[in-house]
């Protein structure tokens, strides 16, 4: 076990480290009992308070999309690409499945919203377009739009479910 030089034989120095919110204190067996249980508990309390104050660590978009982009999903499902596009049309994230730009996703979603608004159908949650070579599903993800592109083999229900799931993740993490 690594010894904290400063803290060796000094209970005050150890509790000082605790007070400063240092979560891991390495000490030898000899040094550890020098912190009383009350002091340790107090340190724990301070650390948890610190964790509340500090901003939560951001989860990367790539990490969120990993279950959908890696391994069996991409290979077997027919999914060709996933895009996360800002409402202004700028790409936030895209897999390079097709090399196609996701910029038109915003344009398309806007058209859907416009149509729905004019027909008094309310807020658009998502939409699908089918062409001979594949399907595109667009879903609302707050300030962004998620677009999934699949070939014709992928069932529409699966494409819809995946896109809505990703949209929910994106919205929850506030990317």
């Amino acid at each position: 076990m690594k010894k904290v030089e400063r803290a060796e034989g000094d209970a005050d120095a150890l509790s000082d480290l605790c007070r400063r919110g240092i979560s891991k204190i390495y000490a030898c067996r000899h040094c550890k009992p020098m912190l009383s249980s009350t002091e340790r508990k107090e340190g724990e309390k301070r650390r948890s308070k610190l964790a509340e104050i500090l901003p939560e660590k951001k989860v990367s978009t790539r990490r969120i999309l990993r279950p959908y982009t890696k391994g069996k999903f991409r290979k077997n499902s027919g999914m060709k690409g996933i895009w996360i596009v800002g409402r202004e049309g700028l790409e936030i994230f895209s897999t390079d499945g097709t090399g196609k730009s996701g910029a038109f996703a915003a344009f398309l979603f806007e058209s859907m919203e416009e149509g729905s608004r004019s027909m008094n159908m309310g807020k658009v949650h998502g939409g699908l377009i089918v062409s001979p070579s594949g399907k595109v599903y667009l879903a609302d993800a707050g300030y962004a739009i998620v677009m999934c592109w699949s070939d014709r083999t992928m069932p529409i229900g699966m494409l819809r479910k995946t896109t809505l799931e990703i949209a929910e993740e994106v919205e929850d993490h506030g990317l």
Binding site: L108, S111, S118
Partner: protein, 118 residues
């Protein structure tokens, strides 16, 4: 011919959750309609054609594929579009209906409309 198309739409509208359907030409002119809800059919026709035109535009930008079908899911209901030859079949449904079943019915109607308007 108009009566035949109207008959097909009437049949389609009898499906659960379907609020109405229209057949519109590419330029937004109404060919036939059967709406259960109080909406101006000419307006729905023009707006539907505009949405489909935008779908086509987007598809042409990403590889020139023709449009086959599409739908929009909104909080107040769904809008389903299907290419029927040179025309478009537009169907309005309630929210939460079985879209899979509705699509089957629409596909059946689309085929019949294509046959009649050939």
């Amino acid at each position: 011919m108009y009566d035949e198309v109207h008959e097909i739409l009437y049949e389609l509208d009898r499906s659960k959750g379907v609020l109405g359907s229209l057949v519109v030409s590419e330029d937004g002119m109404l060919i036939a309609s059967d709406l259960k809800v109080d909406m101006d059919e000419e307006v729905v026709a023009a707006l539907g054609a505009t949405i489909v035109r935008r779908f086509r535009e987007a598809l042409s930008r990403i590889g020139g594929d023709p449009f086959i079908e599409g739908f929009i899911e909104a909080s107040g209901g769904n809008l389903l579009f299907s290419q029927a030859g040179p025309n478009v079949l537009i169907v309005l449904t309630e929210r939460g209906i079985n879209i899979g079943f509705a699509r089957l019915k629409i596909e059946e109607a689309r085929r019949k409309i294509e046959e009649v308007l050939k």
